[in-house]
């Protein structure tokens, strides 16, 4: 019998605009020692479904309308809150997405880890410590003794996620629910955490529900995959079935959205260098006079009409390079030469004109738009600022621009919060293209988006880049995306260039170990 068996679960939310059905007739099961993955884009109801089983969806406004969820033979949905409390955290444990906010910064790792043992089971201090150390060792913390007495800020994101997993395991649960546990992590760290989960599942024989928006992530570890959209399970099957014989068109579109292939060599790429970066150094002053060298002697030569992919994990300095080129952060030394003009030496007035020619698209479309400006105002601003339109004829230009980036006319008067992530990114792209720039920085422009939206935005960027004959600096931690878009690739680590060359060579036959590690960490190799 399955460890957890959910049948015909229906969950709805009451709102002022009527009831919203968040989960519709959902059925799935998890076996001991198996991983079931719930896959869906934001708003697909995957998290709500699982949280509702454990009474973690507030009612009202939520309500569980019907269905059953048998855990170990007993129906979770018909339990009293007190009984459910005893199961939660003990037999069924959670690992959440953001390891940064889940730990109390004022308590040592060890104390947070052993708290449930000490207070709920009355274990004495020495025993709790021993158990804690064993667990830290099991989840791969290198020096458990030292880690036990450390504070969360001394741990990296990946290590914190390991601690979160250890915390989930402390009461020896039989079912682990992991809600996007690797989404906030770098690729190499993600690969390690996935490996750890798979290993725990084998060794401890526990069932895992793995919630993710990314099919590629679960392709290496899931036994069963349930694909959800708008609260409904569209398709469920074994990993092989889903990846090799997807039945539902939506599943196929999800698979198709996983970026594959590489960019064909640019045909009309000119010999002329549009952007030359010479020994760029950027330093940040830290407390106590320490200086952090965020970018260390980086040189770039970018030909007009080509795309350079900047690749690296968080803290590698890739965004800082872009900001230094655009003079959004000052360079400590080195030169940036754009079309024969030294950007780093320009005066105020010339710099304004230079800014018209180089633009940037940011990662987070929720932060990069002024929440109090309508789409119209946001898009009209660059036209008016650079004298590319008058107050009278700016309207037509804004509408044309909206059409180009795929936004309906009627959106002009709306504010950013009324849009989805993908639509917001379209607005941001429109704003960047309004001044008809020659060079554009795309700083992780699709990392915050759902996979199918990601594919649409990438296509839009590609089309626009061709149409406007843009030279692009494309920043991403996702090698698959870079492979698809870039002519040349630069791999960065801790501010230094690891490898720089044509995309085919760097990604196809890497010379450096670090590049190889990055490539090996890309999930979903088996199926793409």
């Amino acid at each position: 019998m399955a460890l957890l068996e959910v049948n015909n679960l229906n969950v709805s939310f009451r709102s002022r605009r009527g009831d919203v059905q968040a989960v519709r007739d959902l059925s799935f099961s998890v076996d001991t020692g198996r991983i079931t993955a719930l896959i869906g884009e934001s708003g697909s109801g995957k998290s709500v479904a699982v949280l509702s089983l454990l009474g973690l969806v507030p009612t009202p406004p939520g309500s569980i309308d019907s269905g059953s969820a048998h855990f170990d033979g007993r129906d979770l949905l018909r339990m009293r809150p007190r009984e459910l409390e005893r199961i939660r955290g003990r037999d069924i444990a959670f690992v959440f997405q953001d390891p940064m906010t889940c730990l109390n910064p004022f308590m040592t790792i060890g104390r947070q880890l052993t708290e449930p043992l000490r207070y709920h089971q009355g274990v004495d201090r020495a025993t709790a410590r021993r158990r804690g150390l064993e667990l830290l060792d099991e989840v791969g913390i290198r020096d458990p003794e030292q880690g036990f007495d450390a504070y969360p800020h001394q741990f990296s994101g990946g290590m914190r996620q390991r601690v979160m997993i250890a915390m989930a395991l402390i009461n020896e649960p039989r079912l682990l629910i992991a809600d996007e546990p690797t989404t906030a992590l770098d690729v190499t760290i993600q690969a390690q955490i996935l490996e750890l989960l798979a290993e725990l599942q084998r060794k401890r024989d526990i069932g895992i529900v793995f919630i993710s928006h990314d099919l590629a992530v679960v392709s290496d570890i899931a036994d069963t995959i349930v694909v959800m959209r708008e609260g409904e399970a569209l398709e469920a099957g074994t990993r092989e079935e889903i990846f090799q014989r997807p039945a539902h068109p939506y599943t196929r579109s999800l698979l198709a959205a996983i970026p594959t292939g590489s960019k064909p060599p640019a045909q009309q790429a000119s010999k002329q260098h549009l952007l030359i970066v010479d020994d760029l150094v950027v330093e940040f002053r830290r407390n106590r006079g320490q200086v952090l060298r965020a970018v260390d002697d980086v040189s770039i030569e970018l030909r007009r009409g080509t795309t350079l992919g900047l690749v690296g994990e968080s803290g590698s300095g890739k965004s800082t390079i872009a900001r230094a080129i655009l003079r959004l952060v000052p360079a400590a030394s080195g030169r940036v030469i754009f079309d024969g003009t030294e950007v780093t030496a320009l005066g105020k007035r010339d710099m304004k004109e230079m800014r018209r020619r180089m633009q940037i698209i940011f990662q987070d479309p929720f932060a990069s738009l002024n929440p109090r400006m309508t789409v119209y105002d946001t898009l009209a601003e660059p036209f008016l600022l650079h004298g590319l339109a008058t107050r009278r004829d700016v309207g037509g230009k804004v509408l044309k621009l909206m059409e180009e980036v795929g936004l309906a006319r009627g959106f002009a008067r709306k504010y950013p919060h009324e849009f989805s992530g993908g639509q917001r990114q379209r607005i941001a792209i429109g704003r960047a293209l309004a001044t008809r720039p020659e060079f554009i920085v795309a700083d992780e422009p699709v990392s915050a988006l759902d996979v199918t939206i990601q594919a649409q935005i990438l296509r839009l960027l590609e089309d626009l880049a061709r149409e406007y004959r843009l030279t692009t600096l494309f920043i991403s931690h996702d090698l698959a995306v870079v492979r698809q878009l870039a002519d040349e690739v630069m791999v960065l680590r801790e501010g230094k260039v690891v490898e720089y060359g044509p995309a085919g060579e760097v990604l196809g036959a890497p010379r450096e170990d670090y590049t190889r590690d990055l490539l090996a960490a890309v999930p979903g190799k088996a199926f793409t």
């Binding site: 002022r16 900001r323 655009l326 959004l328 710099m351 304004k352 004109e353 800014r355 018209r356 180089m358 633009q359 940037i360 940011f362 990662q363 987070d364 932060a367 990069s368 738009l369 002024n370 929440p371 109090r372 400006m373 309508t374 119209y376 105002d377 601003e381 660059p382 600022l385 650079h386 309207g395 804004v398 509408l399 006319r409 009627g410 959106f411 002009a412 008067r413 709306k414 504010y415 919060h417 009324e418 941001a428 704003r431 001044t435």
Partner: protein
């Protein structure tokens, strides 16, 4: 409270502004509108008082003495037999003027000071905010007394003195807001478009920082009115026979057991004003928050 989606009218006109949309939202908020009407009425009465007041404000009727509300004196009379309604009307002129003008002074100085310090950062910020700290440390009363001694007692100075004290907190709030906002990507985007620092602060930062400022402003106005009462009570503000709500209340409080109406009516005028201000302030804050509050 209602907060409709602004997108409903998307097809009517292409262009709109934050202020236009805010006004539309505000006009749908009944409480805020009521507050606005009450305030407008008070201001109107204050302006017209010299022509519409039923009695002369200094006219005493010692034979009558303190009398409860009657047909001749709607709100009664004080111990000198002066008409209370007239007193409240004249007092309102001063209280409202102090409240609004002193707060406006504080608002203008505080918001610009805080915005500049917060956006410039570094040494400019340090110098500007240390100055604020120093002014904070000065005992308020000594500051006012000094001003009065040096420049003599007059009303304009009273406005300035109160405003000069109240702007300090305003500047701190604004600076904290701006510091948070200038790290946002949309500010970086504006920078990369080529906007000047002044335009960035004016168009992108200040509108997003207004929420807490508006709330604090609506708290400052009543505060200022009470401060004036306190100063007047000490003999540093207005002197009888001129009067203000604060003075009326403090005299009323002395004799509240014998002549309660002397406390109740001026108190009512002040309370009504404060309520209206609060509702209007809340309404404004919600109206300027384009995301709209669910309830």
């Amino acid at each position: 409270m209602n907060s409709g989606a602004p997108g409903e009218r998307a097809d009517q006109a292409e262009h709109s502004s934050l202020w236009f949309d805010a006004w539309q939202r505000l006009s749908r908020n009944r409480l805020a509108l009521a507050g606005l009407c009450v305030l407008a009425f008070f201001v109107l009465v204050a302006v017209l008082t010299p022509w519409i007041a039923p009695y002369d404000y200094a006219q005493q009727d010692l034979d009558l003495g303190p009398s409860p509300p009657s047909a001749a004196h709607w709100l009664g009379t004080d111990i000198f037999g002066r008409d209370l309604l007239t007193q409240i009307m004249y007092g309102g002129r001063l209280s409202l003027a102090v409240g609004f003008i002193a707060t406006a002074v504080a608002l203008v100085i505080g918001v610009s000071w805080g915005a500049i310090a917060g956006y410039a950062g570094g040494r400019v910020d340090a110098v500007m905010m240390r100055l604020v700290d120093i002014l904070y440390a000065l005992p308020f009363m000594i500051f006012i007394v000094l001003l009065m001694v040096v420049f003599g007692r007059n009303l304009i100075l009273l406005f300035l003195a109160i405003g000069a004290v109240e702007w300090l907190t305003m500047a701190r709030i604004m600076r904290a807001q701006v510091q948070g906002l200038k790290e946002q990507e949309f500010v970086e985007a504006a920078h990369s478009l080529g906007l000047s620092p002044a335009a960035i602060v004016g168009r992108h930062i200040v509108p997003n920082a207004l929420g807490p400022i508006i709330v604090y402003t609506t708290l400052t106005i009543p505060n200022v009115m009470l401060l004036e009462a306190f100063l007047s009570f000490l003999g540093l503000g207005v002197q009888p026979p001129e009067t203000s709500w604060g003075l009326l209340i403090s005299y009323g409080a002395e004799s509240m057991e014998e002549y309660p109406w002397l406390l109740v009516f001026p108190g009512l005028a002040l309370t009504l004003t404060l309520f209206s201000l609060n509702f209007l302030g809340d309404g404004l804050r919600d109206a300027l928050d384009v995301r709209g509050r669910a309830d």
